[in-house]
Symmetry: C2
Subunit: 369 residues, 2 copies
């Protein structure tokens, strides 16, 4: 568990208190109190060519207390801010669902509630994150654990020393809060890279084959779309341990999208890219050319559906996929008209992925960036 | 990892080989080869009053090779049996998706495939389970990890010693295969009970509050519906360590259903009840009477929808809920017309559940069986 308050929490508390003090000052000065919130809309999102990440622009909106249609949200913003301050001061974390219940109450003698549903409080949390430039994880709000890790690394999680080399079949479940105050990396890792696989079933195969031991790496899966906690974990491994990150996903537009989020960030969470995106992440596969390259049987493919095609066409236009090699990769997927799951490699043998596919690809530096 | 073959695997291999030998014998004798498969249909499911579990009856069906509409399934049954035998002999495990790819191929010179989609191979696995009376986990087939555990217990997972008292914020991710050859319990646990909570967010609160340490227990969540692996894990804790199992779920028909599956088993997986159901599992809450009993504010409830009502009405008729106390509990839920989530307890304070609700309920023995 985190200490009751540490320097990190103090910093966030200070920002939250600042927000409140400013509103109080405005009230005292007879002004209409307001909060300035960076705009989280498509119009305010752009791709930073230099940094190679999706990021939020500079547009902001003012949220006033005395303005029709804003008063409720103004009140909610401060309710959430106040609850997060309490959490930080007590050194406790909670879920966004829980926060909704904590901040929900009936207003005075009225029959009006502060929040009716959680879909009212969730966007307020995101507003608060961008306003004070702190991730929700820094506000002590967590989501479900998602993803797992094993490999050549020892970590400290809430004071407990956890050796990722001795995690049995299940692995270490990656929590949604992996900030430095909760998770620390121990020295002494011999890992040469991080391998992220999309699916837990494939991760289990690699773990059972002790792939991470044979190839000295850290083996991670996201159980599908990579959650915030896991993205942040990968980011820290990449930067603090200076490890390249390889990504292995299904050969379909969804797999490409997962890779794209790890690499550039997502449009929805553009404000987080700067602390989560890994522009140098390497796309190892499955590539649209693997079917030929590894001589896979034809009946393991699945036809692209209309949605796949539309998503593929969209991706051709993403600025971060405009390089020739990416255009070739995506065009081949659309041309072939079929997708390929990671499990399809098992048609060549259950350990084909750990014994042949991955070592061969990495050895030959067959990846896209 | 499991040894290449152990006594357990040998036993299952023997059953699989027996199945094949019998078919070969029938062919040699000029008979129409067949497999006798216990019938997995509602008509063959009953509630065993004495054992208090849902179980499969004695009805069986014969699957013949030479019978229209059966030949394909007959072939598939042996394909899956053969693949599982290979897995067991190699000491490897795999997912049911992977198994589909492993066993899928084109038949001879034809354009027919052994399997078209996974929804063809999954029921064959279930057929095989009941036919040779072995859980799929014993056939080395796994599902995703689901659920987590911390608490006063040390386990051995695939040879790695894992101390559930030192699992940090994430906990030990419970794998889908927790059979004795993979997971062993070490002596020395002081745990007095197992506490299963429905939701991971609530589990995190309890873990952060070190509930399991203060109250000497093992703290488990299922992330919603309790998966097979976790059910089997609970079953083993209950029987091998002689621990009572307490269940804490949302106060709604879905929560009651989760409890009911833990306790009596499910209709779909009736053949597994005997190795997974825990008839003595104690329902701790949330009870329909907790709202009054713990003086919760009225605005944290959610109205029952039509589906909730229908499910509630159905449950009143379940033979395992016919006791007076259960009738009262479910009738109160329907009468109040509202449901209550575990997170609603946070309206009374973020640690209300760990400091008041649970200790008070257990102290006063306020549970239903």
């Amino acid at each position: 568990m985190a200490k009751k308050t540490d320097a990190r929490a103090e910093k966030v508390i200070k920002k939250l208190v600042g927000l409140g003090n400013e509103a109080v000052r405005e009230v005292a000065a007879g002004e209409n109190p307001s909060v300035e919130i960076p705009l989280r809309a498509l119009s305010n999102i752009n791709f930073n060519e230099k940094r190679q990440i999706i990021e939020l622009g500079n547009a902001k909106q003012e949220r006033y207390l005395f303005k029709v249609g804003m008063a409720r949200k103004f009140m909610q913003t401060f309710l959430v801010a106040s609850a997060c301050k309490d959490l930080l001061e007590e050194g406790k974390t909670t879920s966004i669902r829980d926060l909704y219940y904590i901040t929900k109450h009936t207003l005075g003698q009225s029959r009006a509630n502060t929040f009716e549903e959680q879909d009212e409080s969730d966007p307020i949390i995101e507003d608060l994150e961008v306003t004070i430039d702190s991730l929700r994880e820094e506000l002590n709000l967590h989501a479900s654990n998602k993803g797992a890790a094993v490999g050549d690394l020892t970590i400290v999680d809430s004071g407990d020393v956890i050796d990722l080399r001795r995690m049995g079949s299940g692995g270490w479940s990656v929590p949604s809060i992996v900030e430095e105050n909760v998770i620390q990396f121990r020295r002494g890792s011999k890992a040469k890279y991080v391998l992220l696989v999309e699916k837990d079933a494939v991760w289990r195969r690699l773990n059972e084959d002790r792939y991470w031991k044979k190839h000295e790496c850290i083996l991670v899966h996201g159980g599908g779309m990579v959650a915030r906690g896991l993205r942040r974990f990968l980011y820290r491994l990449h930067h603090e341990l200076d490890l390249p990150v390889y990504v292995v996903v299904d050969n379909d537009p969804w797999g490409l999208y997962i890779y794209s989020v790890v690499k550039q960030g997502s449009i929805n969470l553009a404000y987080e890219s700067v602390r989560m995106a890994i522009p140098k992440a390497r796309f190892l596969g499955l590539s649209s050319f693997d079917r030929e390259g590894f001589d896979l049987p034809p009946n393991v493919t699945i036809k692209l559906n209309d949605q796949d095609r539309r998503r593929g066409e969209q991706m051709l236009k993403y600025p971060w996929f405009e390089k020739k090699q990416w255009q070739k990769e995506i065009q081949q997927l659309l041309k072939a008209g079929v997708k390929l799951e990671l499990e399809a490699l098992s048609a060549k043998g259950i350990s084909f992925i750990s014994e042949k596919y991955l070592p061969q690809k990495i050895e030959a530096k067959q990846w896209l960036v």
